[in-house]
């Protein structure tokens, strides 16, 4: 199964979850996602997702000067983002339960 196809659907909640732990800037979010196991995640997708979430009003951003180079644009979850993350969590749990039942025979009639 092509994991990149799977990733598309879950990237948004994943980015929200990572930022819920701690605010972060673009490439740092990529690295954190990879550390947590999404090793195939691409910078373009994550950056695009960050932008979309920001445009959608789920994130706020602030700029932090860096001693190494250019300023860094940090993203943080706002109220709407936390709500979105909560909704995604619920949705995911239901969905994964369903798939678990489908693929592994786990679940109500398993």
């Amino acid at each position: 199964m092509d994991t990149t196809q799977l990733l598309k659907g879950v990237l948004e909640p994943s980015v929200l979850a990572v930022l819920d732990e701690e605010d972060g800037y673009g490439y740092e979010v990529v690295r954190r996602l990879r550390t947590k196991g999404l090793v195939d995640v691409g910078d373009a997708s994550v950056y695009g997702t960050l932008r979309r979430l920001f445009q959608g009003g789920h994130l706020s951003s602030y700029v932090v000067p860096s001693d190494e180079g250019p300023n860094r644009k940090y993203y943080a979850l706002n109220k709407s983002g936390r709500k979105e993350l909560e909704a995604s969590r619920k949705q995911w749990n239901e969905f994964s339960e369903t798939l678990d039942g489908l693929l592994n025979g786990v679940g109500e009639d398993g």
Binding site: Y25, G26, Y27, E28, A44, G48, R51, E68, G69, K73
Partner: protein, 258 residues
């Protein structure tokens, strides 16, 4: 930070790819996306200074496709691309190939040499064709003008070359000058080979740069015009030995009176 200096060079291809990709968007949105991407890529370069941007995030066209899909801007897919775009896209694919990196670097280093050469060729072409023979007494002026023209054109060509990465317009100007340079070089080579033929009965546009002071004195002595000097073969009598038409011979004695 070893990649600090060429940072913009690394970023530019991505910005350009994005610009092409987003050309259907309103200007504001596009500039906003482009400047935001630029700062994002700068962050990566600072973070990962020991690897190139392309190694980190992939080649520009792939990156931009992925980004567009992720932002949800997929309305202009490959099917709507024109032939020209498809060609430029495949060229870009080639230029993103890992092995092409060396070729590209070499080309970048060689560019100033080409800028000089094309300026020189165009300058020479213009002075050969538009500063034709005139009054031999004014020869030194014409030689001076030719020399100055060549130098000025080399300068202009270098300037255009250095600006060509700044904007699309400069790029087009530079491409046009390069084409002119190639044509001028071809004409230059064709001219030279034609004149290598001892039987050449050419036009009167022979370069003043090749006339010596002795030639001028010869013309004055014999009372002939520059046109006659070239067309009636005096030129070759002056310079080429009879036994071997290809060997230049420096004339030491001038024909007397005329």
């Amino acid at each position: 930070m070893m990649n600090k200096a060429p940072a913009m060079d690394q970023i530019q291809p991505y910005i350009e790819a994005l610009e092409t990709r987003l050309r259907n968007l309103p200007d504001e949105d596009r500039t906003d996306l482009m400047s935001d991407l630029e700062s994002h890529l700068r962050e990566i370069i600072v973070d990962e200074s020991d690897t190139s941007l392309a190694e980190r995030i992939g080649p520009p066209h792939v990156y931009v496709d992925e980004l567009a899909a992720s932002i949800g801007l997929d309305e202009d897919g490959p099917s709507t691309r024109s032939l020209a775009e498809a060609i430029s896209d495949s060229l870009r694919r080639f230029s993103n190939h890992a092995n092409a990196e060396k070729v590209r670097r070499l080309w970048t280093e060689m560019r100033p040499a080409w800028w000089t050469l094309r300026g020189f060729a165009i300058g020479l072409f213009l002075s050969w064709n538009y500063l034709g023979p005139g009054d031999p007494d004014l020869l030194w002026i014409m030689q001076f003008v030719s020399g100055a023209l060549v130098i000025v054109l080399i300068g202009v060509s270098m300037r255009i070359g250095r600006n060509q990465d700044r904007s699309r317009n400069w790029k087009w100007v530079s491409v046009a000058v390069s084409i002119a340079g190639v044509l001028a070089s071809i004409s230059f080579i064709a001219n030279i080979s034609a004149r290598m033929d001892p039987n050449y009965q050419g036009q009167n546009s022979f370069p003043y740069g090749l006339i010596t002071q002795e030639d001028v004195e010869f013309m004055q002595h014999s009372g002939i015009t520059p046109e006659e000097f070239f067309e009636q073969g005096f030129f070759y009598e002056q310079r080429w030995s009879q036994e071997d038409g290809m060997l230049p011979m420096i004339t030491t004695s001038l024909p007397s009176g005329g």
